[in-house]
């Protein structure tokens, strides 16, 4: 049953792939630590370079997955030290992490969060190893109708879980799907939304899309933080990054519980590290905050979201590898990266490309060990990147974005398109949208339409095929419940207990 894992370790332990896992871990921790550059930005910037280097698919994926998991480790640093989350997954980490640093416990806080990251990620990687092959075996039975229903479910769960405003999440996703429609229609050869521009015939290039959407809009957003650096207050001294066994044991249940929560949230399509961090923190607060110490520098309040966001990162690989449905914005980008290699992730990947699926999973084990080894002793060194001023950071991002897009086709039109998409992304963010649903919609949109058309071709146009099988009917019901329950439950509850309303 675990043949794929043994083969995977063969792949992951080759010198090249070990080196790439290490490089990914280092770069990921750096990207995660830098405020504003999260895992998606890091991967967006690195992906074209990995492609240019001519790396085989599994090696490129190992590098990029290393960046992803590394960024979840790195995101905690600016949360703890500066009270500025390094990425979306580390928002809750600041709540108890920063008070700890203010008490002069920055070192132990960094150490403890590295250990909890490790525990959370380990739980989730084991979960991934156990469940992914099982789910893949079920998913083999999926036809186009089931996949279509699954994507509807993915969008529903995304709308409910991601962001504060389901309507805006929905709009962002629809805009993403519409952007995926640009270009020649594979079924009929008809040009859609190309406006006669030859450059758009092949659709909007994935690299152009993510670099514009994330890197360029981030540059514009960074202007707001102004000339001043992020450090309104002085960065507390890190000191020795040491965490005692007693402190770790004190938090063990918080870590394990949050690791499990993070894994489950990560597996749900469309929800990633930020949701996991929030859910685990509130759960842990409810369970163990007896003395009302959460928010004032409770170690468990730090361990919980850190374990959860790392677990969610690993968990979001489950739907991506087995169903081809990304579990988070970042895995959507990774999915796009795989598609550049003409690999469509899905249930067949475990049997047809075991070196990719197994190699990736094995490299997560390896990368997790590397990350713990890097982050315990070297947290102080990584924390130094927080002092990099914006006037170095921004030109650096600009250069990487330009070269990354230019080297695709040596084409300036792609660069203009990237800038336009960047302004679009900036506008969306200013209007209170998050960008992850846009990219999920963009990646899933084409697949969704393909599956819908294939299903209706099979049935000769009868729409009933979409909910004929038990699996697809179940997914439809689950999707509707997801959309209706958050609205319905409070009303039902308040009717039952009007005294509390």
């Amino acid at each position: 049953m675990f043949d794929f894992l043994i083969q995977g370790f063969d792949v992951a332990l080759s010198p090249l792939n070990l080196g790439l896992a290490f490089l990914g871990a280092v770069l990921g921790t750096l990207f995660g630590a830098l405020p504003g550059i999260g895992p998606i930005n890091g991967i967006a910037i690195l992906m074209p370079l990995a492609y240019t280097l001519g790396l085989p698919a599994e090696s490129a994926l190992i590098l990029l997955a290393g960046v992803y998991t590394g960024a979840e480790y790195g995101g905690r640093m600016s949360s703890i030290l500066l009270n500025v989350p390094g990425d979306a997954g580390a928002v809750m980490t600041a709540l108890d992490g920063h008070p700890l640093a203010k008490k002069g416990l920055a070192g132990p806080a960094l150490g403890l969060s590295a250990v909890s990251s490790f525990v959370g990620a380990t739980i989730a990687i084991i979960g991934l190893t156990l469940f992914a092959p099982m789910l893949a075996r079920i998913a083999v039975m999926f036809g186009p109708a089931e996949f279509f229903a699954l994507m509807v479910f993915a969008f529903a769960s995304m709308a409910v879980m991601m962001g504060k405003d389901p309507v805006k999440t929905g709009i962002a996703a629809v805009l993403g799907v519409l952007l995926a429609m640009v270009g020649v229609d594979s079924g009929t050869g008809v040009m859609r939304y190309t406006f006669g521009l030859v450059e758009l015939y092949d659709g909007i290039d994935f690299v152009v899309m993510i670099i514009g959407l994330f890197a360029i809009s981030e540059i514009l957003l960074m202007l707001e933080h102004g000339v001043k650096t992020d450090t309104d207050e002085d960065m507390p001294a890190v000191g020795r990054v040491l965490v005692s066994l007693k402190e770790v044991m004190h938090c063990r249940w918080a870590m394990i519980r949050s690791g499990l929560i993070g894994f489950i949230v990560g597996v749900l399509p469309g929800t990633g590290a930020s949701v996991a961090g929030a859910v685990s923190y509130t759960t842990e607060k409810r369970i163990s905050d007896k003395d009302d110490t959460f928010g004032t520098g409770d170690m468990r309040g730090l361990a919980a979201p850190e374990a959860a966001n790392n677990a969610a990162a690993a968990g979001s690989f489950v739907p991506m590898l087995t169903l081809g449905i990304p579990g988070s914005g970042t895995t959507a980008v990774l999915l796009g990266a795989l598609m550049l290699y003409n690999i469509t992730p899905g249930p067949m990947m475990f049997s047809e490309r075991p070196e990719v699926a197994g190699g990736l999973i094995a490299s997560l084990y390896v990368g997790n060990l590397i990350l713990l080894a890097l982050n315990l002793p070297l947290a102080g060194v990584f924390a130094k990147v927080l002092t990099i001023p914006r006037w170095v950071l921004v030109p650096g991002i600009a250069i990487l974005a330009f070269v990354g897009v230019y080297q695709l086709h040596s084409d300036l039109m792609a660069i203009y398109l990237m800038l336009v998409i960047g302004v679009f992304g900036y506008g969306l963010r200013k209007l209170g949208f998050s960008l992850a649903p846009v990219i999920l919609g963009y990646v899933l949109g084409g697949l969704m339409e393909d599956n819908l058309r294939r299903a209706l071709s099979i049935s000769g146009g009868d729409v009933g095929i979409l909910w004929q099988s038990g699996i697809s009917l179940g997914l439809w019901i689950a999707a509707v419940l997801l959309l209706v329950l958050p609205w319905l439950l409070p009303r039902l509850l308040s009717r039952r207990t009007p005294a509390h309303a």
Binding site: L53, G187, V190, R390, W391, Q407, L412, Y416, E449
Partner: protein, 149 residues
Amino acid sequence: MKLVADRILGIVLMGLAAFAAHQAWNLQVLFSYEPVGPKAFPLVLSGILALLALVLIVRPGKGGKWPDAGLWLRILGVLGVLVVYALLFSRLGFMVTTFMTVVVLARLFGAAVPKALIAGVVMAAGSYVLFTSGLGIALPAGSWLPELL
């Protein structure tokens, strides 16, 4: 104020939905082997978008904070720099344009002139070497170089 922004956005999105639907409706499909064709999916999407936009108009949410005039100028400045960077990228070559871009961007993000100049030289030369010899990416050297050599 924020509510107004969301209402305007809703109206714009309505327009976008109508435009997308109109474009899809007018697609000339010469042949199709399947019952759905290329029109249906974009049409359904436009419908969903219009519906969500309507919800936004009726129940606007919280928008972000909008930049003030000074910030707008700097945003336009950064965009201008990036557009000029793209315009001159292959004409003047990677090194020269990158140097200029880094200097101006660094200034816009608050670096002093000497620091910006040093950053420009180091980043332009460093990234050129890294990309061309390190990663084997062909970058434009600029059309003026051969004339000088």
